[in-house]
Every structure is written in C-alpha cells, then in structure tokens.
Symmetry: C2
Subunit: 316 residues, 2 copies
C-alpha cells in the first residue's frame, strides 16, 4: 500500500528491531511485499486475528500504548493456546491517531515485542498508517498445531468433566492487560491428556461454555460452588455477586476444556501445569446448561451469564 515518508521511517525502525528478533522460521521478514515463513511440513498451520479498538476495547489513558501493544498480541496468543498450538509469527496492522506522536507506534511495538520474545514469536510484517481516527491495532498470529492436531470446540462428549485453568471474574479491574496467555498450560495439557474440547474464555465463562455446548451438540451441569472466583471479582461492590462476575465478566483468558472423568481425576491429582485447575461440572446429553447451587437448587445458566437476576429464575 501507499506509505508516507513518516510511515517509511517508522517501518524502517520496526524493521531494524524485528531483524534482531527473527527466528529460524523466517525466510523473508519485514521489507518485501510479503513475508516468507518456513513452517513444519507435517503440522497444520493455525491462524487467528484480533482487532483492538480505542474506545471499544481500551481507553488510553488509563491504558498505556505499551499495555495496548502487549494485549493486542496476548489475545491472539490466547487463541492459539485454545487450539493447543505453538505460535510462530505475527503480522500487525496499525492505524495511529495523528496527534499521538511518533512515540505511540514505537511504544505499541515495544509492548508487543516483549511478549513476542517471551513466546518466541517473530513479527514478520505489518502495515502502519497515521490517520485522524482513534487507535486501531489488528494482529494476525500464525502457529502450528501440536501433537494429535488442533483442539476444537465441537468435540465435547456426554460424561466429560468440564475443567478450567485459573480463576474468573473482575478482569476489567486491570488484569485484562497483564494476563498471561495459557500457552504453556495448553501445550502441557495436550501432551499429558486427551483433550476433547477447549477454548479460551474471552466472552465470559457462561457464554464460552455455551459455545462449546452449541458446537458439540451437548448440554452441561455446572456446580456453582466449584467455579474458581478471582480475588478481583470478590472485591467488586456493584450489587452483582462474585459468582455473577465470574460467569459473566469475560476477558479472563483462562482455558475451558473437557476431558474424560478418568483423565480429569488424574489431572487434579498431579501438578502438571504449575497453574491451578478446577473441575466445575459435567457434559450431559441434551442442550443448555443447568447451574447447581450449594443448597441443591438449580437455575438455568443464561448464555450471557451476567443477565441481571439470573439466580432467581429457578427452573429446578
């Protein structure tokens, strides 16, 4: 595409930095019409894209350009983790507000590169623009499937245990910029056990569980008392319960997965991941999701867990 002189200078800066961070998969990096990558011949290629929009996904301030850059890559890493994939390289499309100054794209890149280094991701191309609109960061990340192949959403089976990493709720209090994509955990799970279905929780635990149920044509029972609730969710004082926050907030970027009960029991008994895991329910025949409370009462779990007052619409 057409580039202005200022954009050329910025591209050159990014190119020089990227060159020192390239990995052996990079045949041609930034600077040609397209990048060229050498991927493993035997693995399926995974690809995911996420767009972060100023005013929609973040406000700046309080978010810093470094945080926004980091998150733009992190959400994509979380998507590759959700397939139990190994990330390899990324390309980045950016539209920078004209009044953001030359430091804005550099700081964005800084935040992205730090996380890229951590997970050995090469930034191999991009399209950087200056405009009069708000900040837009679009990252496309490529990876390779591992082990027996990508773990899908549509393969949960009746009888499966429903399990998660980490805890849920309250991420908007700040953790949604600093979360650690569960890549190592996903790769370890895919090695150690036979994952049936998996995704990363971005829309919210309730909404994303429904994605698995819909795609797999099954139902579920969740145990309310077993759902791991984050400290942040417990500290929010807005009239909604910590459980409602855990089910509805979203942007937790934890793994939600199903395995056979035997393998689930084994996972609970070992510390394979170095990250807490929880058994929160079971997959059943049918559709939809019932939430069983500590007193034995049951409610339907709405698709968007945060619908006000769901705990009162007892259908048990």
């Amino acid at each position: 595409m057409t580039n202005s002189a200022g954009e050329f200078a910025l591209i050159e800066w990014i190119r020089q930095r990227a060159a020192t961070h390239a990995n052996q998969a990079v045949g041609i990096g930034i600077g040609d019409d397209a990048a060229a990558l050498r991927l493993s011949p035997s693995a399926e290629m995974l690809v995911t894209v996420d767009v972060l929009l100023e005013g929609v996904h973040f406000k700046m301030p309080p978010a810093t350009p470094v945080e926004v850059g980091r998150k733009a890559l992190a959400v994509n890493l979380s998507d590759i983790a959700a397939m139990a994939g190994q990330p390899v390289a990324a390309v980045v499309g950016i539209a920078c507000p004209r009044d953001g100054g030359i430091d804005l794209p550099r700081e964005l890149h800084e935040g992205m590169q730090t996380l890229a280094d951590e997970f050995k991701v090469a930034i191999v191309g991009g399209d950087t623009n200056i405009w009069d609109g708000p900040l837009v960061v679009s990252v496309t990340l490529f990876g390779e499937a591992t082990g027996s192949g990508p773990v899908r959403r549509d393969s949960a089976r009746p009888g499966d245990w429903i399990m998660t990493t980490g805890s849920f709720g309250g991420s908007l209090a700040g953790q949604h910029f600093t979360f650690q994509p569960r890549l190592l955990e996903a790769l370890a799970l895919h090695r150690e056990t036979s994952l049936h279905a998996m995704l990363d929780v971005s829309d919210g635990l309730a909404a994303d569980l429904h994605h698995i149920l819909d795609e797999s044509h099954v139902g579920a029972i969740l145990q309310a008392d077993e759902i791991p609730i984050s400290e942040a969710a417990r500290l929010i004082n807005d009239g909604r319960t910590p459980l409602e926050h855990a089910l509805g907030d979203g942007e937790d970027f934890e793994l939600l997965f199903t395995v056979s009960p035997e393998e689930g029991r084994q996972l609970l008994g070992t510390d394979t991941l170095g990250t807490p895991i929880s058994h929160i329910g079971e997959i059943i025949d049918g559709s939809g999701c019932r939430l069983v409370h500590g007193d034995g009462s049951e409610t339907n779990l709405p698709r968007l867990g945060w619908e006000h007052g769901f705990a009162e619409t007892d259908s048990g």
Copy 2:
C-alpha cells in the same frame, strides 16, 4: 475477543457463506478460536497484511462497500503476486461505523468474496466489530511460494532489463478500485523466465523502483519515452504531465521486475501473459536513477516521482 450479540449474528452469517466457499486447504474454518490450514509441505508460506482506512484510502461515497471489500483483498493479492506466490486463504479484521447499518459489513464481505472466489482464496477467519469510528478493513492473506521460491526486491543485478506489466498513472480516477491483481501474470513470468527482482507498484513507479534499487544496492537508467502511460493519466488536466502522473501517482498495482537482457528480449517477443509488457530501462552499478528523455537530456528521478518540477532539475 468479546463479541456483542449483533456481532455474533453477523459472524454466523459470514460463517455460513464462507463454508460454501472453503477449499481443500481448510481444516478448520470460521467459528473456532483459530482456523487451521493444510499448506503444501514443501513450499514456504507467504503472508501479507494491508489496512484500508475510510478517509485515508477511500471515501464512502463515492466508493461503495462492495468496492472497498474487493479492494481490501485485491491489494493483498497484488502483494502475493509480487512474490510470484499462489494465494490460499485470508482472515479479515473489520471495524464498522455504528451508523453504517447491517448491510455495510455484508456488502464488504460480498465484494471480498467475489474476488476470493475468482482466485480460489478461502476466507477462514475474522474479527468483526461495530464502533463509533470510521470504517477499517484489515486483510491478512496467506499464500505459498511457487517454483524456485519467492521473488524478492533485493536481487536486481547490473545489466538487468527493467520491465513492467500494464500502464501507469491516473489510477485515482477510478481504476484503483477495479484493478486486476497481476497474479496469473506473475505466476507465468516465474514459470517462463528467471525473475531477478519484482514488486507490485503501489507507492508509485518512481518510489517503488527506488525500493528495488535500495534493497539491491544498484542504480538504474529509465527511458522516459518507454514508460507505458495509461489513458487515464493522459486525460488528467492539472498542470502535471502524463509522465509525471505515470511516475508518481501510485496504486497502479502493476508488476515491476528485472530480468537478464536475453530473457527480457524473449519476453517481449512472445505473448506469454496476455497482458502488455514493457522494457523501460536498465539496472546499472551505483545508486539512484537517471531518467533519459526523448531529446537525450537526463534528469535525476526523484524518489517520489511527483515532486513538482522534477523535469527541470536537469543534472545530465
């Protein structure tokens, strides 16, 4: 990422349409955390990204959403052509203005899908958002290198003929929405001849020639009378000459390439491409580019061909 209910409905619509356009490379298409592709095990993967911004790259109207969608894919196809690659699949990040209505993303997709079908590109994933900003369309396209591998910008050699497809200038009069990416031409050239350096002309013939010269550490002599000038450039009446338009306008999306004189002569003598090709100059030792006019006078060709009055800065 987090999606609203309206976005889910739109994604479902795109997903259903995409399913009927998938090709055999698609292992997992739209609907999971990432798409999975099976690429040729022996070919390098090519990847390119371009962002089109409302108010920067197009105004709407006069551009229609169908035209914008088509162009967002076309500019990427042109980049893959520039590497002599075979396109395979694309992912699409979109930010739609809230007041654009539900038809806007559908029409964008329509324009993109028509061109995708023509070149057998599967649209395998995306991130569609509604916001209060202008329209943003970010397309990432993957392809496979062909033949002896990707054709780079940095391999022009002294003595090479400088050649182009098609004609130049005046694309902003309309052709920049309807141009045909030179994919078939690039693949034919890569099969029939030994391409040294190649790119697609987006920044302008002068600017993009300088990219080849800079990357290859060589200079060039261009013959002004041999540069193919488009009808559109001849019709513009704004005080700049048709030649200035041809050298500076950009967005021609024609191929600019270098080959040995022997192969260049052979190409001119056959009609391999079905598209006109021209021999416009030679690569020489040194740096920069001299433009030789019909009267024998010489000027330096500025990096941005459109700099006013370059024809008068005679350095010959």
